[in-house]
Symmetry: C3
Subunit: 270 residues, 3 copies
């Protein structure tokens, strides 16, 4: 499977889609900024009184479970259904799933009532939604085993939920249940700042909003884009520290060209 | 009209006013930091249980409609009325007005019940509040036409609402319905990071809180201050990327001197 | 009293504790990032539906009163009681106490119902909780007098509330009612960006979560750690401005070694 990465980034920057993001207050600023840097425009309304209307004028909807509350969940369901009606992609990030019943219950409700187009989470989040409590720390969590498990989880979830599922980690896996890609972009420092997962999901919203006809490719492009931002930030600022890395990450996002994306991409079919 | 820019910035840094900002969670950190960098102190309480009391000890009130919800709207009305009672300026930013009825309705309610001293928004936000749905994208939106429309919208709104109105864009317009200024500070990169509009409104709170007797001049000074921060950030970090630009913007705000403000200002009466 | 600073930082980075932080949306991103940079992991759930469960899997709980509302207060009480049941330290930051009755009332309720392990605030916040309205601005607030008052307030509060109390300012004071330390790390620029107080409290959560058997030492280590980050950031970025200082502060946090912490610490018993 050959990804048309340059074409997708060019499309994103030409179409300049509006992305409605219902997200958490911890990383909202970073998510808005990377949405802009990638080439889209964010709108972040989360009140049930206006969520649907904001979705109605958008080209993609991003639902992120960080700092969840009842009102926000209500908005996510309303916006998610509206997105289904008007046929725009819904990208779902089940942040923290598996750690509290309210969170897990909300994620299950979203899966059933909204039927997202793409789900992106780490192994324990996606695994817990499949009803597999995974112990990814400790003796059993060898790298080999994790990668195998991540692939299995992504493919099982994709088939069960009939959508694209990405399980991110050292290697990012993405599958629509038929085709599966492994992506090896990124760097360890990305786990040392908050919000790289949320930002990746926001970038998925941007690519999917611009290329709704090719969601697997668009979502994979977002994984590569985000991972490559990490690599570039690490090269220029790795030794300076985490604050510098954070902002060089944003620098890389805004400066990324289609050529760089093509050249830096490390992916293969599983 | 000659603006006493140096004098106003010196006053702001001497008086060090407390600014109560009821604002959105996407750009709150940037707004608090630029409030400090300009020379004021922010307080950001938004619960109806304490909003009035925080307003009562402040020298200006900033109301920003981003990530609006019912509780926050209640606080804005309570705080806005308190500000009227004690006679401190209210700066109102109708973020996203025109895109959802709840938002537009809230803005209309604030205009009527709070009667803000200064309103700052972009053309479509202020235009929609006047009941003019403006199509600012596409063929008709030539630069010439936009500037003309912005001036007309600012002056009409200022007369209708009996307050100062600023319509910001490539050229910022500010009018009290009698006098109108055009300000040409700023740079295109300011539209590529989130929150430059919110930050500008916060800086208006700082200047207006310090110079309540000259609100048109104070609000104009804030537009020049913010635009000049953008120009300075662009000069030092433009090529590095959007993350660097963001933080150089904050660097410029903290280092801005009265002399630089006077020297860099680009304004004229319309 | 000799603080085992290197040992505590090493322990923190080995144990990698999970810190549940119920905090404000203005500085949440900075708090999450400094928690990571110090060596711990943050989780920031604040809904009453899940607060207790998140506390139950954590090694420390941080309660921060910024942008307080009724729901968040409910979560703080629930999480605080759960922390007491399972025996993990609770670090309490009474942000803005004394400025509004709802805030002060909430702080009093937390003191009584949660019984925090450590309280950290500035002189007027902690003073107002003791029922001493302090006028720290103006003629009477000489540096000498402030330091004396801070010590008295910290010791009185520590005895009255039977916990560790830190009153931060130019000199940070920390006392358990028997022993009192004065810490002279830090720099004036820390007061010019928002969130250094909140970040210090978050770092206290990290150290106390890792070293729950030595809370006075752990909390003091956090004060030194944060102050030293400020000193390092000032040295490398002081002249560049407040944006650069902000991110160099984070750089310093992530790069801080046990040796640097030992070498840079400036403390003595009072």
């Amino acid at each position: 499977m050959k990804l048309e990465l340059k074409e997708m980034l060019d499309t994103l920057r030409r179409v300049h889609p509006l992305i409605h993001e219902i997200t958490n207050y911890v990383t909202a600023n970073d998510c808005a900024n990377i949405t802009l840097a990638a080439g889209a425009s964010p709108v972040m309304a989360d009140a049930p009184e206006e969520a649907e209307e904001m979705t109605a004028i958008s080209q993609a909807l991003v639902l992120n479970l960080g700092t969840l509350n009842r009102e926000k969940l209500k908005s996510m369901i309303l916006s998610g259904k509206k997105a289904g009606e008007i046929g725009i992609p819904v990208i779902f990030d089940p942040v923290g799933c598996g750690s509290a019943r309210f969170r897990t219950g909300a994620a299950v409700q979203i899966l059933h009532e909204v039927r997202p187009s793409v789900v992106r989470g780490n192994l324990s989040e996606v695994g817990s939604l499949l009803g597999m409590p995974l112990h990814t720390r400790g003796v059993d969590a060898s790298e080999e085993r994790c990668r195998w498990t991540a692939r299995q989880v992504a493919e099982t979830a994709a088939q069960q939920w009939d959508c694209i599922v990405s399980v991110t980690g050292k290697t990012d896996i993405i599958s629509d249940g038929r085709q599966t890609l492994c992506i090896d972009n990124g760097c360890p420092a990305m786990a040392c700042i908050t919000g790289t997962g949320c930002m990746c999901t926001a970038v998925m919203g941007a690519f999917c909003g611009a290329c709704p006809a090719h969601l697997l490719g668009a979502a994979a492009a977002a994984l590569i884009f985000t991972g490559l931002c990490g690599e570039m930030a690490w090269e220029t600022a790795g030794r300076d520290g985490l604050g510098s890395f954070h902002w060089k990450f944003m620098d890389a996002a805004g400066r990324m060209t289609g050529e760089q994306l093509e050249k830096g991409a490390k992916y293969h079919e599983a």
